[in-house]
């Protein structure tokens, strides 16, 4: 290896260590090594698959969130879209229609919800956080009032192929993990190889400049929210299939913050314009390692929440120490 190349590698390594991503990577590796040494069967293929599987759904949702966040938006209505579209599909299937038809209706509902939210943000010029916060309540309210009475919807009976999504395995790997992997690859290709992807980064970096250079911001925004809604629907199907039921009450849970935790922890800044799929994977796996380790150690619920909170704080504090706020960030503004 030539001296120049070695120097280049070293520079890359030190810049990686200075990024949020690098810090989380170090923390993740540290936690992984620690748990492997201390917990008897943490480092077994079965447990590692279980670990990845348990956070795959979170990861899938985080992919949708990442797309929106990179374009300098945020979608906190994802959980509402997820539970309402999937629950409604199950209700339709139970009332005598075929499951395939019902699932199609659910998908359609999700896309329509996403498009409407996109229109609200793009054409109504409502700030994404408020638009999606309000839309989430509207979607959930509509669902609870008109589509289903019971929050808990079991998977309709005789849905053989459907239960394979959450419970089947391909070459020993749970389908849930495979779905997460495929979606990661797809989003990676979209973001790095297509005009849509490049324009998404441009919008996130500087919406004004993006518009001047000829990017049609508004249709782009609508498309992004439609995609995140559709991803949320997909995540809901995987979730329902693997637990044999979906509980609309997830809307009231902290799941949406867990998704943001994954996105932020992985190193995708909320001010948009940067971040890659690998950040989502990193964030997902780190959260997975933490949750799995704490479950194995049988740590009580409240302390688990405390640990999650402290880790997030720690990551943010280290990030702001390593990357102090400068003129540029203060101009852009954090969320």
């Amino acid at each position: 290896m030539s001296e120049a190349a070695a120097h280049g590698n070293q520079a890359r390594l030190s810049s990686l260590l200075k990024s949020q991503e690098g810090i989380v990577l170090v923390l993740a590796v540290l936690a992984f090594v620690l748990f492997s040494l201390l917990l008897p069967s943490f480092f077994s293929p079965g447990n590692i698959l279980a670990l990845i599987r348990s956070v795959s759904i979170l990861g899938i949702l985080a992919l949708g969130m990442a797309l929106v966040v990179i374009a300098r938006g945020i979608d906190v209505s994802m959980i509402a879209t997820m539970v309402v579209s999937v629950s409604w599909a199950f209700v339709i299937a139970r009332s005598g229609y075929s499951l395939e038809f019902a699932l199609l209706v659910g998908a359609l509902f999700a896309v329509v919800a996403g498009v409407l939210i996109g229109v609200l943000i793009a054409f109504g010029e409502v700030a994404p956080i408020f638009a999606t916060l309000a839309a989430g309540s509207v979607i959930y309210g509509l669902g609870r009032t008109f589509f289903f009475t019971l929050e808990m919807q079991n998977v309709p009976p005789d849905a053989g192929w459907f239960s394979l999504i959450g419970q089947g395995r391909i070459l020993g790997v749970p389908v849930t993990v495979v779905v997460f992997g495929v979606l990661c690859l797809a989003l990676h290709l979209v973001l790095s190889r297509t005009r849509f992807g490049w324009q998404t980064y441009a919008m996130g970096n500087n919406p004004g400049a993006a518009r001047i250079t000829g990017i049609s911001n508004r249709p782009m925004i609508v498309a992004q929210y439609a995609i995140s809604a559709l991803i949320a629907y997909g995540a809901g199907l995987v979730l329902a299939s693997s637990a044999s039921a979906i509980n609309a009450r997830l809307f009231n849970s902290t799941m949406i913050y867990d998704i943001l935790l994954v996105v932020v922890l992985g190193g995708i800044g909320l001010n948009g314009g940067h971040g890659k799929v690998r950040n989502v994977i990193l964030g997902t796996i780190f959260v997975g390692i933490l949750l799995n380790g704490m479950t194995i150690m049988n740590i009580p619920y409240t302390i688990q929440n405390l640990v999650k909170g402290v880790v997030l704080l720690l990551a943010i504090v280290i990030d702001s120490l390593v990357n102090p706020r400068d003129e540029q960030t203060s101009q852009q503004g954090d969320l």
Binding site: S54, E151, Y301
Partner: protein, 338 residues
């Protein structure tokens, strides 16, 4: 003389007439003054139900049964739905104290939050019945499960299957819901009362699922990785334990891990017993609870006593549902109750 005769005749006629009238009254039965008072006292009274949230089998079931009686006896029945928010529930209770309905049926999110407000409501003259989840304050009445008993029954069933030499091991996992609810604290007490007498049984995991089936699933999956020889599992609620059960099934350990759960006896839970997902399902029978609740509402509305004067409670009987007795009597659907 003639006058006297006429008077006699008239008197006789009067008596005869009176006799006929009485006879005809007897033909049409007697008015029951107690029935009249019963209906009159109840008519126009106001009863308010404050559930944890509407939209799940338990609260929808009770509400359906209570609404029927309200309709029959013509009193007012309202629901204030705080949608799982303890905050919203507290506010609803505060505004109810100033609205002064005749009776509140309260479903407590935990043993502490409503405790003082329920005492205040009674001080303001509102009678209070608590349903299935108690608070620390004892009120006019409590109707519902004895969670300690459920815990004891669940633990006993697991002990029977997992004592040394009987199961794959003596390892047991417990899936709780939310650590502060009455269903959790009292049930855990019941579970440990039994387990403490059987020191051989090892509790290898005790984790909160927040009533979320997917979280229950991933916890059980991890536990099974750590303890592939797990023998028994106790879940705190059927709605979440579909997830626990599906983790057990997916690990191919349906025959090895004995899963006990409890719930209101909804058909969906029963279906899971039939499918072999739940090995034992302890039901607290929502339709029965609804009927007892109705009797308590009527009794309290009729009674002249002031709110909080006489405190009573009734722990309703539990039904252990296994594959052998999944039937019409033990399992219900919401449409049956409406």
């Amino acid at each position: 003389m003639r006058l006297l005769k006429t008077t006699k005749w008239l008197a006789a006629a009067c008596i005869a007439l009176a006799g006929i009238v009485t006879a005809s009254a007897q033909d049409k039965g007697l008015e029951n003054p107690r029935s009249t008072t019963f209906r009159k006292t109840l008519e126009g009274k106001k009863v308010v139900f404050l559930p944890l949230s509407m939209g799940f089998d338990l609260t929808e079931g009770w509400a359906a049964v209570m609404r029927q009686q309200a309709k029959r006896l013509k009193y007012d029945f309202e629901i204030r739905d705080p949608a799982w928010s303890t905050d919203a529930g507290t506010r609803a209770l505060q505004s109810l104290i100033s609205e002064k309905p005749d009776l509140i049926v309260a479903h407590n999110p935990d043993i502490q939050s409503y405790a003082r407000l329920l005492a205040q409501a009674q001080a303001a003259g509102i009678k209070v019945v608590q349903i299935n989840l108690e608070s620390n304050t004892q009120t006019d009445s409590y109707v519902g499960a004895d969670w300690t008993e459920i815990g004891e029954q669940a633990a006993q069933a697991v002990v029977d299957k997992c004592s040394p030499g009987k199961g794959a091991s003596t390892k047991v996992a417990i899936d709780t819901g939310v650590p502060t609810a009455a269903s959790d604290v009292f049930q855990l007490d019941g579970i440990y009362r039994v387990l403490n007498q059987h020191p051989d049984i090892q509790v290898v995991s005790q984790q909160a699922t927040e009533y979320n089936p997917e979280k229950a699933r991933s916890i059980m999956e991890t536990v099974l990785q750590q303890h592939p020889d797990l023998c028994g599992a106790i879940g705190i609620w059927d709605n979440q334990d579909t997830g626990t059960a599906s983790a057990i099934q997916q690990a191919g350990k349906g025959d090895q891990v004995f899963l006990v759960t409890s719930g209101g006896g909804n058909k969906v839970g029963c279906e899971n017993v039939e499918k072999g997902l739940f090995n034992l399902y302890i039901s607290y029978n929502v339709p029965l609870q609804g009927e007892i609740l109705n009797a308590e509402i009527a009794r309290l509305l009729l009674s002249d006593g002031t709110a909080g004067e006489n405190k009573t409670l009734y722990f309703n009987p539990l039904t252990q549902i296994t594959k052998a007795n999944v039937n019409q009597r033990n399992c219900w659907t919401l449409d049956d109750l409406k």
